[in-house]
């Protein structure tokens, strides 16, 4: 009987101990997470100029691509000889 009481007491203690331990861990992780959140914020702030830069690069790239395509169409119109098609040797 005494043995059972001791075991019961130990179970209650361990339960309480686990809870406190869990709370401690949670509080520790919260403390650890705080600087992580800050880090994330910092990286976000840092990424703004990079995004703007990449947008500008993309804009100029699409402009260059458009100009290259224009040149290609001009060359194709000249090369296709459509203009010559109606002239025939009779």
């Amino acid at each position: 009987m005494r043995f059972t009481k001791i075991i019961g007491f130990l179970i209650i203690l361990s339960f309480l101990g686990l809870q406190s331990l869990n709370a401690q861990i949670q509080s520790k992780t919260k403390v650890v997470q705080k600087p992580l959140v800050l880090k994330k914020k910092i990286t976000k702030v840092k990424s703004v100029p990079i995004a703007t830069k990449s947008k500008t690069i993309l804009k100029s790239a699409s402009k260059q691509k458009m100009n290259a395509r224009k040149q290609q169409i001009k060359k194709a119109v000249r090369k296709s000889r459509i203009t010559r098609r109606p002239i025939r040797r009779r």
Binding site: Q64, M66, R90
Partner: protein, 284 residues
Amino acid sequence: MQTQTMRHRKIYSIIFLFSFLSPSFAQESPQSDSTLLSEPSDLLMLSLSYTSNNMKTKNYEYDRIPALLADLNFFSKYGFIASLNYTNYFKATENTYEAEVQIGYQKTLFTNFTVSSHYARRKFVGDTTYEGLAQKNTLALDFAYNWKFLDLQISNSYLNGKSDNYFLDLDLGISLDFDNVLSKNDFVLFNPTISATFGTDYWVFQNLRPNVEHAVVNYLARHNFKSHQFEYQSIILFVPLVYNIGDIGFMVNWYYSWPSAKLTKLSWRDQSGVLFSVFYTPKI
């Protein structure tokens, strides 16, 4: 454990190989933007045209041969060219059309010098008075040089059919283009060209019976014109004006051809007309 490590190594090597083969898979492409943009790409061009071809000739009972034209051109980034050309003479009393398949290759050297060659096979169906030069096979070799806004071209072509002929075309053109005229995505191209044509004249006699041919040769000889030889044949002027926006383009082309004195002696007159075209260049 060892087998697991081996498996991991295999997976890593596959991922590495894949990232090397596909630059899009990798987060950062080793190529710079400018390198990627300077790379040529394939181009497909479809066009539909109408021409009012006025041929003032006394030999034929008609002097106008309007036609509908359809063209499909493919320009490969590696320089290969393929085209399909269809012409329908809708004013003819019977169904009259011709189709030509062309394959070729072009190479640009020293930035503005282009060499190109092509082979074409042609089929004509219908009223033969619309046929003109009856060629079946064409083999051509062209040299083009572009200097600032000037285009110079020398075209050599060998035509095989009812008669075998060789032609030499010397072109001089002005190429003026203006970007962003009405929008960011458009251009205007003005490319007037003058062309002098030289060639053999065997095709002139291709449909004549031997006795008629003999009479024509004698007639020309009496007017100091030699026959069956290589000679100057015509001057042609093309004045195309192109407006292109995005993938769609429009062209108005006025043309005029003056035949040589010898061909005029054979009662041939000037050839002129306007060509209206709409073309589509889808992104492929």
